[in-house]
């Protein structure tokens, strides 16, 4: 059975695709080095328009007559109160633009003006090198370093030096952890239990927050923060998984980039932390099967966030404590063996898969 994978590696090579919704203006070129948050491309997408009916407004006989009077062309920009058309003569009738904007079309005596656009700015989610630019829309960045994937993010991107002021992977963030040293840093904590602390973190101008878990009631508060928040394990108060905590703690002081974009199964993206390193890692394509000896992370209630080692993969559907039957594995978690459905496990020790690939 194809395993779900949670990529947590001290040395990895990664390749991430960034896309505009439509073709736009690409600001980088292949071979260029970028940092997390750098602007890669941008585009303006129309969201509002107004149509001026010259025929009706001027009381003309035909659209042809209107088009002869219109003083602009498609693609021209109109400023506030610019004249669109006028009849001329002693008692000239004038139509002015109702708002500044770009003329999108002139057809059948009607002028369509784009009055508002939505600016889409595409920022780099990870540091690295621009590997490819496709059709002014898609930019692929490759990089090397430590990679830690997570479970949930509040949609923001940021970077800064890693800071750890809590006592352990289960410790909750509290205001005393947000002293001056945290300013501009990516703060580490096992969990966060209240919205007030999140607000105070914003006031302390931290660059980002990586926590193991948060209660789901804090989702709205987390989403409203101006800094990225990445949750490694999920919802509740289970702290951070040991492997992620260890890896992050050994990189304190180094610059980390957080891409706290929410998990999107269709695009294959999930929130992740990258610490760029001048090493050569390996790309992992995500294809592996469940096997004894693998370290796994449990992603479902009630064991979410726990990690263990697969001792045995059941050859047939196993009977679970819930009474259901499903493909499962016996997983040793803190010296206790539990039967966990394979669908609830993410393989996090993939070094053996990479070794197998290179043989």
């Amino acid at each position: 059975m194809q395993a779900q994978v949670l990529d947590i590696r001290p040395i990895a090579r990664f390749r991430r695709s960034h896309s505009l919704p439509v073709a736009g203006n690409v600001l980088v070129r292949p071979g260029q080095n970028v940092s997390s948050g750098d602007l890669l491309a941008e585009v303006d997408i129309p969201v509002s328009q107004v149509t001026v009916d010259v025929v009706r407004t001027l009381g003309l006989a035909s659209s042809q007559e209107a088009e002869e009077l219109i003083q602009h062309k498609v693609g021209e920009r109109l400023e506030d109160r610019d004249i669109i058309a006028e009849t001329g003569g002693l008692f000239s009738r004038v139509i002015r633009t109702p708002a500044p904007g770009l003329i999108l079309s002139i057809q059948d005596g009607k002028v369509m003006i784009e009055t508002k656009t939505r600016h889409v700015a595409l920022e780099a989610r990870i540091p690295g090198t621009v590997a490819e630019v496709q059709r002014n829309r898609k930019i692929i960045i490759e990089g090397n370093g430590t990679l830690i994937q997570g479970a949930w993010g509040n949609g923001k991107i940021g970077r800064g030096p890693l800071v750890n002021k809590v006592s352990g992977r289960e410790a909750a963030l509290n205001p005393s952890n947000l002293a001056i040293e945290a300013r501009g840093g990516i703060v580490l904590a096992g969990s966060c239990v209240d919205a007030l602390t999140l607000d105070q973190a914003a006031e302390a101008h931290i660059a980002g927050l990586i926590v193991g878990s948060i209660p789901s009631r804090l989702i709205p508060a987390a989403e409203s923060q101006p800094y990225p928040i990445l949750v490694t394990d999920g919802f509740g108060l289970m702290g951070m998984n040991q492997l992620a905590y260890q890896l992050l703690s050994t990189n304190l002081g180094r610059e980390a980039s957080i891409s706290a974009l929410p998990m999107d199964q269709r695009k294959g993206t999930r929130p992740e932390v990258v610490i760029a390193l001048p090493v050569d890692g390996q790309i992992f394509d995500g294809i592996c099967e469940y096997k004894p000896g693998q370290m796994v992370h449990i992603n479902a209630y009630p064991y979410a966030g726990q990690t263990g080692i697969i001792e045995k993969v059941s050859p047939a559907n196993a009977l679970l404590p819930s009474g259901l039957r499903a493909p499962a594995a016996e997983v040793r978690i803190d010296q206790v063996r539990k039967v966990i459905p394979l669908a609830n496990l993410e393989v996090i020790s993939i070094e053996s898969e990479l070794s197998a690939e290179t043989q």
């Binding site: 194809q2 129309p46 479970a151 294959g268 009630p302 819930s322 259901l324 499903a326 966990i340």
Partner: protein, 574 residues
């Protein structure tokens, strides 16, 4: 495309879900079409494959192992047609529910005519109506255009005018649609589906084609008092397929060897419901529920017509959408055991991060079944709002979905369905334990005998015949006397108290005569009539009399609720 037709005998039906892909094998045995076996594999539409093809191969591989029939050749391709040695199958059909929910914009004229009809049509698509524009919309034209732009639709459903009726209004709306399309970058422009005044179809096509593709369908409202939702729905299906094929990598590839175009699962299941409603009790309708991981549906059939209602929520990757609609307390009311609201909320949101996960503990399973109940409640509420429920009740009610079929006991499934659907009258609850109903619908055009014969076989499980007794009496009051006479001549009798649920044994395959004697103005059928007796069919849970009340009100007290559930499960025979 493979050959369509009556000479196909064995058939593979693939059902592509967002969590699982199923490969079903149907073949002739003892002169009748039978469901033979299924192979199931985890869907690979997402990372790392991003292509459904791998899971199709795995599902077929499992089917080979289970059925003992060789289906794949040495290059791992499906062998079609079947060979002299018995390898392969004669035909292939595909249904899918793994597509993402679509953003739909509906455009019509009058809110109680074309716009209502096109909104109903939109309800059959797995998606959400993000904007709806009618002729009586008070917003300025520019604001309406802006609203559609902001909604970023995948499809615009456009209707209006009876045939040879309103033309100026329709063309005005067409002009609005074109204006919107003009504003959009070419890559973002949605397809337009026009099902309005046919006399204007060429003109509308000319206008819209300058900007995007347009499909012309029959008028959804050819006359003011006639709506052709079913007919137009059939022409909408290939349009949806085309849009979804862009998202479901591998679908277009498998379609080249199918005997019919792939079909959305709910739409295919609609054919079966339509058929059943035309052959069953003409006084009653037929209902079919499907609870999926990404989307769910309820199909209501009556008198040979069916309305398909799809919803973009489910127990897996559709749970996040569902949690936007309901509050956690509404789910908690269905839990038989106490759990802190905060813990329940965390468990639910955790599930949105791991949509394919399986309940590992009893508590996790109860949470999943509580979600299922509330999804059923929401679907019933929604279809009632859409005017889609008939007052006379439904018989049978079919149910499918992994969450139901993998529950630990038939009593657990039955109670989930009864709590969620809360049927009235006398009905038969049937479980589609292999999730084949949509496959049967897809097979119908290829081999019409197949679905009819498989429906009559044991592929479907008769859970119970359910009699709902509704009374205003106080709980504990005796409201109904029941006598069940068996074919053997023996009988059993029971008195049912308000607030209780009981089960009388009658096995699948057996029939009996049920005599009902309501007391204290207890109502059974919505029509109010009570027959001298009812001929009833047996089910795994027998004949169930549900006198718990409608609507069902669950106690807020955790201990009370736990005791109540335990007593109901005992009463049902667990």
């Amino acid at each position: 495309m493979g050959t369509t037709s009556m000479d196909a005998v064995s058939l593979i039906a693939l059902d592509l879900g967002s969590v699982n892909v199923r490969a079903h094998l149907f073949d002739v045995a003892d002169g009748q079409y039978r469901f033979i076996a299924s192979g199931v594999a985890a869907a690979t539409i997402h990372a790392p494959y991003f292509d459904i093809g791998e899971s199709i191969y795995q599902a077929l591989d499992r089917l080979e192992k289970i059925s003992g029939r060789i289906l794949l050749d040495k290059d791992a391709n499906l062998t079609i047609p079947s060979q002299a040695g018995g390898e392969g199958a004669d035909g292939l059909v595909v249904t899918y529910s793994c597509g993402r929910p679509l953003n739909l914009v509906t455009v019509g004229l009058l809110g109680d005519a074309s716009l209502e009809a096109v909104n109903q049509l939109a309800g059959s698509v797995n998606g959400r109506i993000v904007e709806s524009i009618g002729i009586n919309d008070r917003r300025p034209m520019d604001s309406r255009a802006d609203a559609v732009l902001a909604a970023r639709p995948d499809l615009i459903l456009f209707a209006g005018g009876t045939d040879n009726g309103a033309s100026r209004s329709v063309l005005k709306m067409a002009d609005l649609v074109c204006r919107i399309l003009q504003m959009m970058p070419a890559e973002e422009r949605p397809t337009v589906f026009y099902s309005g005044n046919q006399a204007l179809a060429p003109e509308v096509k000319d206008l819209v084609e300058r900007y995007t593709s347009i499909d012309i369908a029959p008028n959804i409202r050819p006359q003011i008092d006639k709506a052709e939702i079913d007919k137009v729905g059939a022409t909408l299906s290939p349009v949806i397929n085309r849009i979804q094929a862009n998202d479901i990598k591998g679908l277009a590839r498998i379609a080249t060897i199918c005997n019919a175009p792939p079909e959305a699962s709910a739409s295919a299941a609609g054919k079966i419901v339509r058929f059943l409603s035309s052959v069953n009790d003409p006084q009653k309708g037929v209902l079919a529920f499907d609870i999926g991981a990404g989307s769910s549906s309820v199909i209501a059939g009556f008198g040979g017509k069916a309305s398909v209602n799809s919803f973009p929520f489910g127990t897996g990757n559709g749970l996040a959408e569902f949690l936007k609609k309901v509050n956690v307390q509404q789910i908690r009311q269905w839990l038989p055991k106490s759990i802190l609201l905060e813990d329940l909320r965390d468990a639910l949101y955790q599930k949105t991060l791991s949509p394919a996960s399986i309940p590992a503990t009893d508590e996790a399973l109860q949470i999943e079944l509580a979600v299922t109940r509330q999804i059923l409640r929401e679907m019933v509420r929604e279809i009632r709002l859409r005017g889609g429920l008939t007052a006379n009740g439904y018989d049978p009610i079919l149910a499918s979905g992994t969450t139901l079929t993998r529950a630990t006991s038939p009593q657990q499934i039955l109670l989930t369905l009864l709590d969620g659907i809360q049927p009235v009258g006398i009905t038969t609850l049937i479980l589609d334990k292999h999730s084949i109903i949509s496959s049967l619908g897809a097979a119908a055009p290829v081999q019409p005998y197949l679905p009819v014969q498989v429906l009559e076989s044991s592929a479907f499980t008769n859970l119970a015949t359910v009699v709902t007794a509704v009374s205003d009496s106080r709980p504990g009051t005796d409201i109904l006397n029941v006598r069940l006479e068996y074919e053997s001549g023996k009988f059993t009798e029971a008195t049912v108290a308000k607030g209780s649920i009981i089960a009388l044994p009658l096995k699948p395959g057996e029939t009996g005569k049920m005599f009902l004697e309501p007391e204290h103005r207890t109502r059974i059928e919505p029509s109010g009539l009570v027959e001298d007796f009812y001929k009833v069919n047996g089910g795994i849970c027998g004949i169930v009399i549900d006198a718990r009340g409608r609507p069902l009100n669950m106690p807020a007290n955790d201990d009370e609720r736990e005791q109540l559930y335990a007593s109901w499960m005992v009463a049902l025979g667990e």
